[in-house]
């Protein structure tokens, strides 16, 4: 347990320091959302209608942006060898790394959502719905993205590959995340159905992600 706590603490610390990933993802998310109203024009009903989708897309791309460093940094400096050799199962180490990534890069996005919702003319319920779906959905983005990040470790400059591998996996998360937020805002569907499916997808990725990532890391260590 201390081993995993140490790993989480270290990764969060690195992410928050200068040059770490947390700030980059956050800035990217901010700039995408802030630029959207300028691109779409001052049509308030249109902004409100597109708002949840824009926030979700921003969050998806922001988490992809920082995910490719999840294992490559540790691979390049040799830490990954020691992590793989240690007495802590690699699956748990992967899960801990993904959790740290979510805490450092995912949670700030959710916290910023209410502020950015204002720019997109979202009212209180709509913002709350988007924030809630992001809270449930972003762990799924991180944990499925981790599989791609683990596969990209063996390939130098695997960033593009990561996007190609991970984007198809994140389509269901995006669909149900946006569907649930829109159901809460406009109806006529109930919020419960897409939201439950989003929760289910999230739970599945929490289980499968670490095992798949650990398996591909073991293959890739060379």
């Amino acid at each position: 347990m201390t081993a995993l706590a140490a790993l989480i603490r270290r990764d969060i610390r690195i992410a928050l320091r200068v040059g770490g990933g947390a700030l980059i993802g956050m800035l990217f998310f901010l700039s995408v959302i802030v630029l959207m109203p300028f691109a779409l024009g001052p049509d308030l009903p249109l902004l409100a209608r597109l708002g949840p989708a824009i926030l979700w897309l921003g969050a998806l791309l922001a988490s992809l942006l920082t995910l490719d460093r999840l294992f490559t940094a540790d691979h390049e400096d040799g830490s990954l060898d020691l992590i793989a050799m240690s007495r802590t199962p690699l699956e748990l180490s992967c899960a801990a790394k993904a959790l740290a990534h979510w805490l450092a890069a995912g949670v700030p996005l959710i916290v910023a959502t209410p502020v950015l919702g204002l720019l997109l003319n979202l009212d209180l319920t709509a913002t709350a719905a988007v924030a809630l779906t992001l809270l449930v959905g972003t762990p799924a983005l991180t944990f499925t993205g981790m599989i791609g990040a683990a596969l990209a470790v063996t390939l130098h400059r695997g960033g593009l590959l990561l996007a190609v591998l991970v984007l198809p996996l994140s389509v269901p998360i995006l669909i149900f995340g946006v569907a649930a937020s829109e159901a809460a805002i406009t109806g006529p569907l109930s919020f419960g159905a897409p939201f439950s499916i989003l929760c289910a997808v999230s739970l599945i990725s929490l289980v499968i992600g670490p095992f798949a990532a650990a398996a591909s890391l073991r293959q890739g260590l060379d």
Binding site: A6, D77, G78, L82, S86
Partner: protein, 200 residues
């Protein structure tokens, strides 16, 4: 404790690096792995650590902890230092101590042993190559492991550093440790030599 390999064969990227390799080392012994560049010294260490899978033969440890793999009872010191530039010297060492399951203790004493106590608050990004190596060596002291797998351990160390490191190795051997080191130069302790490869 006795670590031995029988008829070990290693293939990397479709090319045979070495084959029919036999080696053995017992507690209190140093096995110096020598050979020209590209002869498979690092590959041998990684095979023992379990980071590579041998294409043939077997590597076994007698007298160790049967519950653990050889890698889990070993320290591996590779070319790469496993240090995070954004973290300070103390934070780096603290992390590896906690992650590898060392006893919680003041790392300052360990840093003093490797001569880094004056730099404990410095981010690892500002360390020189020799200082980075010293910090990696501190990891071997912060967590007890019976087997040390060292890849070019004395590279980048100055004369004083090499003498310090020879002392650390002697202490480790005295406490029934086992060292396998890939090296080009003298290690500063008495060692049995294992020649790897030679042909391509």
């Amino acid at each position: 404790m006795r670590l031995s390999g029988r008829d070990v064969r290693c293939v990397r990227g479709g090319r045979e690096v070495f084959s029919h390799l036999e080696f053995a080392a017992a507690s209190g012994e140093v096995l110096a792995v020598t050979g020209p560049n590209g002869s498979g010294k690092t590959s041998l260490l990684r095979l023992i650590a379990g980071l590579l899978v041998p294409s043939g033969g077997s590597i076994a440890l007698e007298g160790g902890d049967a519950e653990l793999t050889i890698g889990e009872q070993s320290h591996y010191l590779g070319h790469r230092d496993a240090l995070k530039p954004a973290l300070s010297v103390t934070e780096n060492l603290n992390f590896w101590r906690d992650f590898l399951g060392g006893v919680a203790s003041d790392v300052r004493d360990t840093l003093k042993l490797v001569g880094l106590d004056h730099a404990s608050h410095l981010p690892a990004a500002y360390l020189s190559a020799g200082q980075r190596r010293r910090l990696s060596l501190a990891r071997l002291l912060a967590v007890k492991r019976p087997i040390w797998l060292l890849d070019e351990p004395t590279a980048a160390l100055d004369a004083a550093g090499q003498a310090m490191f020879a002392g650390l190795m002697r202490d480790h051997l005295a406490s029934d440790g086992l060292i396998i080191a890939a090296t080009h130069g003298p290690l500063g302790v008495e060692a049995r030599e294992l020649m790897v490869g030679g042909g391509r």
